[in-house]
């Protein structure tokens, strides 16, 4: 086999190279030639095409993402922010947590089980790379219409994949979202979040510092996984006739990942590594260049030392492979034996593949020199791959239909105006796919493992105890709303932030940090780019107003089928701290006679609501207003009142409005409630409005008898509007809206819990297989259609960390 060497490249300057097929533009290719002062070798070309892809270079998002850093509030809690694999937040003198959300959308469409599984695996390694023990996962999932046959293929696979990987890793799954909307039909969103905990002094760096240090590859063998994602083949149309041209799907091995985690943690604990980086979407290419660039050093790598699953692999394939469950370590030579011994104890492969080198001159950057069986195949400055990629200020234009869309307000739609119609609407909405019970999904996840799960779904936020002695805990929620963002991406992003913030705050936690996953269509579409810019602006400004920094995240572009983009979907994760986790506030009613108080104000806000969509198939108008100062106040009041024992439960109001919050609070422990509407909401369709409006900044709290005065006094003093609306009734077994209707809890439960089993239940497995089969054809066709859209980029799934300075994110 003849390999394209550096020498050969220098001698054959005019050899034609498939840079366009690799997703590089004419200009970008020219720039590479300038940097190298010759044409790139095949391996170098593969590396530049990966590192300069949207996925790794943020070339379209970079100019906007700067706002996260520029507008971020100063925080001395932040030990590592954007630029690291994940943000690290100090939560006590000795303990820090790290968390991040990342997408794995396109792979989950092609092969739902493995796509979702490796999505979990990827984010877990990001967290591990910071020196943290991963302790919990969450996931934000969006699928096409619930009844669509392809959803019957994608959803069960994605859910089983997340469970299959996370459960086998022993990570409790403590929350997330499951949302259905036709805009995600060909582009499901699988956003996985992981939380990790570390002693403050165990924080790891990715910098490959110290010339002479050894570069060790640890974990699984390298195979041809995901080569398609970065090779010429990936951007080509894949069709039914050419099976072999389909991108190779990465297959996850959670067992190996579990061993990798234990081995890494043992190495960190023993202070045996200088630098560490996970391998993911951009494989060895990303890990080598990023670690070297971070330290300003060079690196010498003997590529034939990389343990291969398939011996016939070529150098550029080894460099591009996306094989899972691998980590790159930088180790001092005298500690190498100890590192290899620890790896061996855990039964994971560890191989010295190279060494860190010093720059040739003090003001020169180091060079990455890679040989393959004594032939030099790469000789390039690592910084040029990581930091010198192209940056585009792509054209932006407000979508042409937006004015008309915003003028078509849902507030004018016909509303149920009598008690019978209202009762029927309540039951119908409770059974709707987006509002119904998600137990069918969440019971496929282990929530108990590790023994520190204090709250998990269907609670507003997942709450994890992170210190068994001191009682320190953290709360996490991840939220988004594509419909709101479609109507107004700036407000939509702020609403997503507000909801995640509120979900964390109602548990009594103090929100301290944000992560985000920005899911959008093609950045080459000016309308999509405008949506992206507006969403980033909304989120950055919102975080500044709430005084909590964005610590990291990722961008997923090209989520579209043909010309149709998904709803712009910024998904926001908020992390909060509970100094005493035993004081957490759960969401369910659990005490007879508790007084139910609605906090916040209810306006006529139905545009973009679940009701407008479910009942009228309507999406138009402007989304609910956001008042972040109010959100902050709401959170402070609940935390304050909870600490004084005035709150037995609290539940945030969001999709589906007040009545949905009441239903969920009743269903949790099977306690009923009696609710009376305020006088001004009793006539005509006003009861409907009160129950279904989606005004932000609201929550219901259950206050124990005897505490009402003290509780409401806090509200009044702090200027938070409150309304006593009813009482918890443990004996009646029904939800009563006085003067309107009464629904027995059994009837409610049947409506609320029956939907997902009916759609996806095991009982119908035979039928599901059939539809799944048809659906997989649809999937391939759809992917086929989608491919031309993505052809301009090297990888169909283009993901970047929400960070302008950072080097590429492994997926």
């Amino acid at each position: 086999m003849s390999v394209d060497t550096v020498g050969h490249a220098a001698a054959t300057p005019n050899e034609l190279q498939p840079y366009l097929e690799l997703g590089l533009s004419e200009d970008e290719y020219e720039r590479i030639r300038q940097i190298l002062d010759r044409r790139p070798t095949q391996s170098e070309l593969a590396m530049y095409s990966i590192m300069w892809s949207e996925h790794c270079s943020y070339k379209s998002s970079k100019v906007h993402l700067r706002q996260f850093a520029d507008k971020a509030p100063r925080s001395d809690r932040l030990l590592a922010g954007m630029g690291a694999n994940a943000g690290v937040v100090r939560v006590s003198d000795t303990v820090a947590v790290t968390f991040k959300v990342e997408s794995h959308n396109h792979p989950s469409f092609v092969e739902p089980y493995q796509g979702a599984a490796t999505g979990v695996g990827g984010i877990v390694r990001d967290i591990l790379a910071m020196g943290a023990r991963p302790v919990a996962v969450m996931d934000s999932l969006r699928f096409g219409a619930a009844g669509h046959p392809d959803t019957a293929r994608v959803l069960p696979g994605v859910v089983a994949g997340i469970g299959g990987y996370g459960n086998c890793l022993g990570l409790p799954n403590v929350g997330g979202e499951v949302v259905f909307d036709p805009s995600y039909q060909g582009n499901p969103l699988v956003n996985a979040l992981c939380l990790g905990v570390l002693p403050v002094d165990r924080l790891q760096s990715k910098a490959a510092s110290g010339a002479g240090n050894v570069v060790v590859l640890m974990g699984a063998k390298t195979g041809r996984d995901g080569i398609g994602g970065v090779s010429v083949l990936a951007s080509a149309t894949f069709d039914d006739e050419a099976d072999q041209r389909r991108p190779s799907v990465q297959v996850g091995d959670p067992f190996t990942e579990k061993l990798l985690i234990e081995a890494c943690l043992e190495l960190f604990e023993a202070r045996l590594v200088v630098g560490v980086q996970d391998l993911g979407g951009a494989g060895l290419t990303c890990a080598l260049t990023e670690t070297a660039a971070a330290a300003g050093t060079g690196m010498r790598v003997w590529l034939e030392r990389v343990p291969l699953r398939e011996p016939s692999m070529e150098p550029h394939e080894i460099l591009a492979s996306e094989s899972q469950e691998r980590m790159l370590l930088v180790v001092e030579p005298d500690k190498l034996d100890a590192v290899l011994k620890t790896a061996d104890k855990w039964g994971v492969l560890a191989t010295a593949i190279g060494e860190v080198t010093a720059p040739t001159a003090p003001d020169e950057p180091g060079r990455l020199a890679v040989t393959w069986r004594d032939e030099m195949v790469v000789d390039a400055p690592p910084g040029s791959l990581v930091d010198d990629g192209p940056v585009y200020a792509r054209p932006m234009r407000e979508p042409a239909d937006l004015i008309l869309l915003q003028a078509d307000r849902a507030e004018t739609l016909p509303r149920p105006a009598d008690p019978d119609a209202l009762r029927e609407t309540v039951l119908r909405m409770a059974a709707s796919p987006n509002l119904c019970d998600k137990t069918w999904v969440t019971e496929q996840y282990d929530r108990y493992v590790l023994g520190n799960t204090v709250l998990a779904q269907p609670q507003d936020a997942g709450v994890i105890r992170i210190d068994e002695r001191g009682g320190l805990g953290v709360a996490l929620s991840v939220d988004g709303n594509g419909r709101y963002a479609r109507l107004d991406p700036y407000v939509g992003a702020r609403l997503a932030l507000a909801e995640a913030y509120r979900n964390v705050a109602v548990t009594g936690a103090r929100p301290v940090a944000v992560t985000d996953c920005l899911n959008f269509g093609s950045p080459e579409d000016p309308a999509v780019m405008w949506q992206f810019a507006e969403a980033v602006r909304g989120l950055a400004e919102g975080c500044a107003e709430l005084n909590i920094p964005v610590t990291g995240g990722n961008v997923s572009f090209y989520n579209q089928t043909g010309a149709a983009a998904i709803h712009p979907t910024p998904v926001v994760g908020v992390l909060g701290v509970l100094d005493d986790v035993s004081q957490r506030v759960p969401m369910g009613f659990d005490q007879d006679g508790d007084v139910i108080i609605l906090l916040g104000e209810t306006h006529a806000e139905l545009s973009g609501s679940e009701w407008a969509w479910e009942v009228h198939g309507h999406l138009g108008g402007v989304p609910p207003q956001v008042d972040l100062a109010r959100e902050r106040l709401l959170g402070e009041v609940i935390a304050d009142a909870a600490a004084k024992g005035h709150v037995s439960s609290a539940h945030d109001l969001s999709d589906g409005g007040l009545v949905q919050a009441l239903i969920e609070s009743c269903m949790r422990r099977g306690l009923g409630a009696r609710v009376a509407l305020p006088d001004e909401f009793t006539a005509g369709s006003m009861p409907f409005l009160y129950l279904f409006s989606e005004s932000a900044g609201r929550a219901i709290v259950a206050v124990p008898r005897g505490h009402e005065k003290a509780f409401t006094a806090i509200c009044t003093e702090r200027g938070l509007p409150w309304t006593g609306i009813g009482v918890v009734d443990a004996h009646g077994g029904e939800l009563e809206i006085r003067g309107q209707f009464t629904i027995p809890l059994d009837e409610l439960r049947e409506a609320w819990s029956g939907t997902l089993p009916r759609l996806f239940g095991a009982e119908a497995s035979g039928a599901a297989l059939e539809t799944a089969d048809e659906a997989s054809e649809t999937a391939l066709e759809a992917a086929d259609e989608a491919a031309p859209e993505t052809a301009a980029e090297a990888a169909p799934e283009t993901e970047t960390a929400a960070d302008p300075e950072a080097a590429p994110e492994a997926e």
């Binding site: 195979g223 996984d225 990465q250 091995d253 899972q324 054809e777």
Partner: protein, 81 residues
């Protein structure tokens, strides 16, 4: 009765964690000369009438194997007692 046997295997380039775990366990049983183990599925299809290889191929391609990561082989099993 004649039946059609479908063997489904992961494509050679796809990681097989199951096979790998078994291969790694063999030395513990004293078996040291195995270099690779790969695990697949065998599916037996019985037709009401004559075994239909074309139909079996269709079933295998559309349902039994996931063409994204697996390949399959269809064969007729000789009449057995």
């Amino acid at each position: 009765m004649a039946r059609v046997v479908v063997d489904v295997m992961l494509k050679p380039e796809i990681l097989d964690p199951q096979g790998q775990a078994v291969a790694n366990a063999l030395p513990r049983l004293g078996v040291t000369d195995v270099s690779s183990v790969r695990i697949g599925r065998r599916i037996e299809i019985e037709f009401e009438g004559e075994p239909d290889l074309d139909r079996a191929n269709e079933i295998a391609g559309r349902l039994l194997a996931n063409p994204v990561i697996e390949e399959y082989a269809v064969r007729l099993e000789g009449s057995s007692p």
